[in-house]
Symmetry: D2
Subunit: 407 residues, 4 copies
């Protein structure tokens, strides 16, 4: 491999892979079973906490966090193959305390939080004792343009009053989810990108109301879920603001870079697993007297899937490496590129696998349909493809015209 991983990363890759094989994959069905047998869809299967304890003990914990005091202290490049491995199973990221949106929230607190905020929220998050959600997008406005946001964070004496309706607050269905980072307009008269703030809102604060859990292509994604939440005159102390008034976009910029690339890394893992499943299937399944693998277009699917995965992986690694060496700002074109590439790649690889599995592919018998639905949301979450493409083109067109070329 041409990207050089540190010895530490290589060692962790190996450990993680073993852990997946010994502990995570065999428990996927246990998890589903326990979820099904729970009192309702919103209780946590016991197996998840058992696996978390094991992972922590094995040192496979908080690997996402670059800062070495709290977390894994790995570079983005070193973390990439680990995050990819976790992405192979939808229950894995939580096992290693590396699941969205907690990872993004922890990074925000680690970077911009006060000591008090760290003590109150970051610590239990890092320990895997509580979970958190992120309330940014709103149902009434196009969130592709974040300046559309209508929620408000209004100072009132020692407090802020938070008002607004947010949706896609993923993870809020989890009974362990205790806090939301809410973004809203605090300074309506400031320049466009200094009008918004982020604030910590405990989910048990009066006025916080989970209206409903949003399904994704029929999946409730229990026990985490995607909540639509009304913040109705919710009062929180002024100390709950993160970094300061008007810093919302600045934090969002910082938060979204790593968040986006983590999604991409996991999508590569998911696509890799889908390809593996497809290969297994077509070698075994027989139609018209020979294995599917020997028929028609199946080998094209395998080849194209490998090609697409490999290219997406390389672009992700490049973006990760640039974030490490040149910073998230310089890497913004690469981050935008991979944010377009990874979900579309995963969707096409998974879709081929679904097709190879026939009816089983769209059902719950294989993880494919769920993986597809999840990947589909990532063409929208953290900015739709269109917005990222536009950002790439803008950067391209800001290059000086080269004189050596005709035209």
């Amino acid at each position: 491999m041409i990207f050089h991983y540190s010895e530490r990363s290589k060692d962790l890759q190996e450990k993680l892979q073993s852990f997946m094989e010994e502990t995570v994959y065999p428990n996927e069905s246990v998890y589903v079973q326990q979820l099904r047998e729970g009192t309702d869809r919103w209780s946590i299967p016991a197996v998840i906490e058992e696996m978390k304890a094991k992972a922590k003990e094995a040192g496979l914990w908080n690997l996402f966090l670059p800062d070495s005091e709290w977390g894994g202290g790995l570079t983005n490049l070193d973390y990439a193959p680990l995050c990819e491995i976790m992405g192979r199973s939808s229950i894995a990221p939580e096992v290693f305390n590396c699941a969205a949106p907690d990872t993004g929230n922890m990074e925000v607190l680690e970077r911009y939080g006060t000591d008090e905020q760290k003590e109150q929220w970051l610590k239990p998050l890092l320990e895997g004792k509580i979970r958190s959600c992120f309330s940014m997008t709103e149902p009434e406005v196009a969130s592709s343009d974040a300046t559309n946001m209508e929620a408000t964070i209004t100072p009132d004496g020692d407090e802020y009053i938070v008002n607004g309706r947010k949706w896609w607050s993923s993870g809020a269905g989890d009974p362990r989810c205790k806090v939301a980072i809410v973004m809203g307009k605090s300074n309506p008269d400031a320049p466009k990108h200094a009008q918004h703030s982020m604030i910590l809102v405990p989910l048990d604060a009066p006025g916080v109301r989970v209206e409903r859990m949003l399904p994704v292509f029929g999946y409730d994604d229990a026990p985490h879920g995607h909540a639509e939440i009304t913040y109705d005159r919710v009062r929180v102390p002024k100390s709950h603001i993160i970094w300061g008034e008007g810093k919302g976009f600045a934090i969002a910029q910082g938060r979204l870079g790593p968040g986006r690339i983590h999604h991409c890394m996991r999508l590569i893992g998911a696509a890799e697993r889908a390809l593996e499943l497809m290969k297994n299937r077509v070698r075994k399944r027989v139609a018209f007297g020979k294995p599917l693998a020997d028929q028609g277009v199946i080998r094209e699917w395998i080849a194209d899937s490998r090609i697409e995965i490999e290219q997406a992986r390389l672009l992700t690694l490049k973006a990760a490496s640039m974030m490490d060496t040149a910073g998230n700002k310089v890497a913004k074109k690469e981050i935008a590129m991979i944010k377009v590439v990874a979900p579309n790649m995963a969707l096409s690889v998974i879709d081929r696998a679904i097709q190879a599995y026939g009816g089983g592919g769209v059902s719950e018998d294989f993880p494919l349909a769920f993986m597809w639905a999840h990947a589909r949301t990532l063409r929208l979450a953290d900015g739709p493809d269109e917005v990222h493409r536009r950002a790439i083109a803008k950067l391209e067109l800001s290059d000086p015209v080269r004189e050596t070329s005709t035209g």
Copy 2:
């Protein structure tokens, strides 16, 4: 329009459209509400029977059935625009007693059934009093090659014993579903395509066991559902066989032609509605200071969607017209073509609409995600794309080599 519809069809189109606008669309949310409030997911919302009564009264009933004694007496071409209109709403086909798999089953009974079978099953089906399912595909074998089928129908005295495991028996979750048409091997020593039979199995016969309802991308499709059913030494009288032993494939051929094209017609309606929804959205939703309709790639999406829908519709109409004038057998290439085209077209149109709706698109707030999941199954149901493409190519390659061409 260049395809000429009869006056009767034109008149029905108008009536149907009004009925949809006055009765069906406004009741879509009522249906969902009643389903949600039912004792479980598997009770029938009252509104559906109310609408059925109205539709019957309005003469919008059984329009799918070509034979005029029982049904609409319309040609496939005349039925096409009606079926398309019904396809705009997932609850509509049942309202007009034109829903799969009942339509296919009724056609089978009408064409191949004995008088006794017609009296017992066809009559209540035509009256909308009961529903039915179709047990063909099996989880253990590749159903793209139907000769793989392992279920058996074994004569034993005055009875047949039915054994096997079938899945995707759609509609079996419906409490009104009373009978299955089951396909299985009855004559293992006959030539390859004369080994199988179809037989009527009452769902309350001893040995019939619904193992589970299969989800489609997270949707349970309640209250109809897709059942996996075990037929465990189920005994039925010999009179339950349809047409005769060994006629399974012959019936399947006849059944699948119209069934496939009906799916395609409905998919065009679904795509048309998705495009309409997308157009509504992009005119109203504002980002970066102007409606989405005035930005980037949105107009390409609308144009491409219109182009794809229109081409799929024309091909469907051509296939329908050929079935009417030259017969289903001659039309088999066209049927295979449209079976490939329509689901893929619908998926791409609906996917663009989802993208235009952002987070709402993947949720339950709009019918798009559900429509997408349903359309996705139709790249598999009634034969995967690959099998149809192969059939088309085979027919193409059986043309004589033309001497006028070099090469």
Copy 3:
């Protein structure tokens, strides 16, 4: 077939097909040979005039022209299959005096020309004695927006002075080409779409200078060619204006509708021939021990090609039929749609055939590479895809919002 052709059209289809087989296909290589052996690339191979004489005698002449006094008197729908057949060979359209740009020019003269203009130019064109070109697009401006046009047609006493630089004046390389229809700005102060006129300019008028012949992917398209022409203070009598000052866009609208659809019909013929060639090839060519037809993805290519051709054909026929029954104006969305569909369809079908032919496919041994290059120009000529897509979307978005839909 669901589109009903008149008996006359059916009879002509049969005659035309025989003529192609007996006369045109066998002479394709003769034509190439004679062109190669000519004194230069710009002399007309004798075989073309021989074939023209035969076609005229056989009544296969001027079939494109709807008006029955001068031409075939066929509807667009009736002409469509004839034009498609001609499109199978690049030398065929001229043989039947149905080649662009003469057809469009003749239609303009027939509809808008004075008796004098008809006598002088239309008559010899209809007789196939002279040829003509059309000078519209200009190298210096984006011609996708025709109002960019900079050429001028300035009244001066009894004359107009024509000034400007035009390119893609196809056919101007032909020694028989005697006249150009030139479009330019005559009334700069009029409303935007009434500023331009069309005027007849004899190619031997002083000041007309063919600067060069433009290659298309290396092809000179001799002996017709695509000329870049300078009109340098060219004086023509006032009687040479067509219809009247300021009528340029009105004429262009009328001219382009049929012209566009004729291109599409021919492209379908070209694609059909490419598919035929591909089928011939893959049945005969052996690799890895079996014919290409039995390998990998080849059958998918054939099936997809058939599907794409058939859909494009149906859309063309629908557009033709609408032009006949509702008029070119009402049919403008359908014309725009087919103008996008046909070239892209042809390019993909031909490209697959090229791939199946290997090195031969890109060479002159088969007509494929030339067909591809020609089809590629038609994603640009008469408006680039983008402009047509935009027109379609605009028409779609001008529909009233339907109240029956949520969103």
Copy 4:
């Protein structure tokens, strides 16, 4: 950048870029002019030898050759960015003596040639005094399966007799081209991949007859050209065999790896230039009142082009790096992948640029149409996409089934 280039490579990149800007780009039009004014299409424009002299002097010579005694001594990874830069101009590779097929031929001689062969052919090739061609594919058989080859190399006393018809012997039109490496069957009774040999045939040997120059789309690619050559009982001394009898496939394997990746590197340069041209154009060209860059789908094209180029580049670099570190054999999947990716990527990027240029795009006014035609041949040359995809799938399917996955 995450791939680490040596200081030497970085230094050469800079020098090469300056040389391109100062010497190559400005001489592109001079080259065309001199070619046009030559006595025929097959004389070498003087400017090319002038540039070669300069390049040699500047140390920008034979950079492709890994071995440091003769050539640049660069790794594949270090050479990649240099080769990409050369790929930006179709006349550049020859300027630096890095043009196909000489590079492949020189590598063959360097690796497998005798001292005598090196003295006679390799030396003048390395000095840029002569050129060479490669006679492998044949018109009569599918060359995608090289074992189809029908040419023979038959021992006869001290000589071999070479018989066969080869085509796509690129470069044979060049008056400086003195020798062909010919592949043919020498040992018909040996195992399948040991039946063929490669042999050096001087082009002036009796019996060597250039039948014609094959056009690519309409391009003759003069003064190099693609020759169809008959080898009619050509006698060469036994010492002309390369490596030994039966080594043909072994050499081909070695030859094709680097040759393929060099093509890919150059294609990336070509695509990069096409994107640059497109960006220049859309910033300047105005339609409907604003630059093309601000309209419709143009920014999507730019973003997608950037994404596709970047992914292809990374995959090329990975393949290059694997060749350097693990060897060409281990890298065969990556080489196959990039061989599929690079031409298709280049075609799509260049095609978008053509579309943005309108009529100019398909003409000779910009290098785009020529670049496209050349890139199109590379979906066929050195193995068609289909064969490479099949090879990738075969490698994928030879992986052991992973037990951790269901399915």
